[in-house]
Symmetry: C2
Subunit: 341 residues, 2 copies
DNA sequence: CTGAAAGCGCTTACAG
DNA sequence: CTGAAAGCGCTTACAG
């Protein structure tokens, strides 16, 4: 087994006290420059690294953030929503930039709530990501708040929901893309994705969608909204029955790109041409959306920015600053699936 | 600020010593059952959680694994290969099952090598994931080995490469899928994806591909192999020039599904029908491969199993057991892009 | 500018 | 079965 050097070993070799070693390594101005250099040189030579457990224990902080991902919909690991994966990437990057490590944990709603990361001093704060069932969620959030855990959540704001959330303007996104569809002459709109309060993000997109329709003087038909959670399969199944029952639909707004990919497949299997017979649009602008056939028109959320915002807000919270809900802009990305030329 | 209970607080309330509290909480048989229950009850009431920093420091272990992801190809966060995302999922699951937390870090090859996770006692071992440039990689691996860091790597085995690796049989995968293509009557094969020793996984797939071709008595044409790294764009660009120069090609094997998606797009843009004019097959069986149009024939790697294997092997290594390279089986998944009916 | 000392909150030999 | 004590490896007031 390898035996690690401690600050005492360095002190011994440098002929100074251990406290001086500790100060030198942390670049304390209290230490003579020459001493500092000498200590650092020896530390480098011994391949010395500060023991984080000791340092964290002493400082009562971990310089670590925990990212909890919820995805109750499925037990299949491969179905992680690519949008969240982008978020994982940007969150990881943002926390590393801030000098924090990132613990990650996938959880089912049904799981024991693993949010003891902060309680055990393994993390200074928690980021929550996921479109799990929001109603179940609520309780757990309250619990976190009660324990005075520092956390931020990606998602819709909700007056009566505890904690801080950062999210995109889902209502606006649903509105914008639907308006775009209307401007290209579509008349009969369907929406695939849950629109109840169990999935507030999807609901907001749906409400924006509806607003655009009524503003245009078109009719909203309740039967044209069908439930789906964010997987290709779920979208496929939902669209198949929807379209076969309602041949008059000429545009489908999907609550996510994953759903849209399934919906497009269903259209093809039913002999509907996209976009000639029917327009299909998504939401998220996941990487593959440019490569579907036809390329998917969708709503982009800036995941880079989102990751940064999540991390900086959480850090602010940890530092005791006052933070409020933030809503980010969205943008319609026009491709071919809507018939846009 | 919340003030956390310590084991001393519990000791006080339970009327026992702090050492007894510690033992009781760890379910030591040394402690009287009744005392144990009482201590636990009080701990639960105070919402007490063992301080991991203190506990880890004392035990000189962290019960944490670090997952390092390399992806040098791009600075765009959204382009994380979905295959790796599946792996992240299964690794997270496997480590949580083993009672370990998971630190995650995306790194560029150019980065300072962050593998001090183990040196700082933040992690007991490291899992390396990524198809970065293997030649650069090599040095860093040697360094890890020198420092006696515990690590396992996802990927091809390489005689002269340091450390333990777990991977799928890429050669066999390349062989099997090419053979399948041959059996459907294709004659002129191209391969899109790097085939040099900078990307040994891709290379192995290519070599398997070549073996199948020569075994069938067909001709291998060097010009039909073009470089690409694992993104849709890269595949698209590679295929566009390949196909326009060599109209005779009737089958393209891609080193990854992402590449294949780009290749399919290029085929379409050039007016080639898939699979009628040209067959396209991928590698990885990422979730979206079922939803491309036509659905992509590909090679499946069992990511669930891979994640488990990676974690259990690493833990064995940490426990000082002797471990050797493991190669997992692959399986051809037949869909429509190869012309299979 | 430097050192001796206390203490972060645990776990675990050691003694009874 | 239980307690007093040492110690994991740091950081940082305190004193000089």
């Amino acid at each position: 087994m390898k035996v690690k050097a401690t600050s005492f070993d360095i002190a011994h070799l440098a002929g100074v006290s251990q406290s001086t070693v500790s100060r030198a390594l942390r670049d304390s101005p209290l230490v003579n420059q020459e001493t500092r250099d000498r200590v650092k040189a020896i530390a480098a030579e011994l391949n010395y690294k500060v023991d984080k457990n000791a340092s964290n224990l002493r400082q009562q902080q971990s310089r670590t953030l925990a990212l909890l991902l919820f995805e109750d919909l499925t037990t299949d690991d491969s179905l992680i929503n690519p949008f969240f994966l982008s978020m994982i990437g940007s969150i990881t990057k943002a926390s590393s930039l801030a000098g924090y490590d990132l613990l990650i944990s996938f959880q089912n709603m049904s799981d024991d709530w693993h949010a003891e990361f902060e309680d055990t001093n393994k993390a200074d704060g928690i980021i929550l990501l996921g479109y799990g069932d929001f109603v179940d969620y609520q309780d757990k959030l309250s619990q976190l708040e009660e324990q005075q855990t520092h956390f931020v959540r990606w998602g819709a704001e909700d007056k009566n929901h505890p904690g801080l959330s950062i999210g995109c303007d889902n209502f606006q996104g649903g509105f914008d893309i639907t308006q775009h569809l209307i401007s290209t002459g579509r008349k009969t709109f369907a929406f695939v994705g849950g629109a109840d309060d169990h999935a507030p993000e999807f609901q907001a997109r749906y409400l924006g969608h509806c607003k655009a329709i009524s503003e245009a003087g078109l009719k909203i038909n309740k039967h044209y909204q069908v439930e789906a959670f964010s997987t290709e399969n779920s979208g496929y199944d939902a669209a198949k029955s929807l379209i076969s029952q309602h041949a008059e639909i000429d545009a489908i707004c999907c609550a996510s790109d994953l759903i849209a990919i399934g919906v497009m497949q269903a259209c093809k299997d039913l002999g509907k041409r996209i976009p000639d017979d029917i327009a299909v649009v998504g939401y998220d602008n996941i990487p593959v959306s440019r490569f579907t056939n036809p390329a998917l028109t969708t709503v982009a959320q800036d995941t880079i920015r989102a990751g940064e915002l999540l991390v900086t807000s959480l850090l602010a919270l940890i530092n005791g600053e006052q933070i409020t809900h933030q809503s980010m802009q969205v943008e319609v990305v026009q491709r071919q699936s809507c018939g846009h030329k």
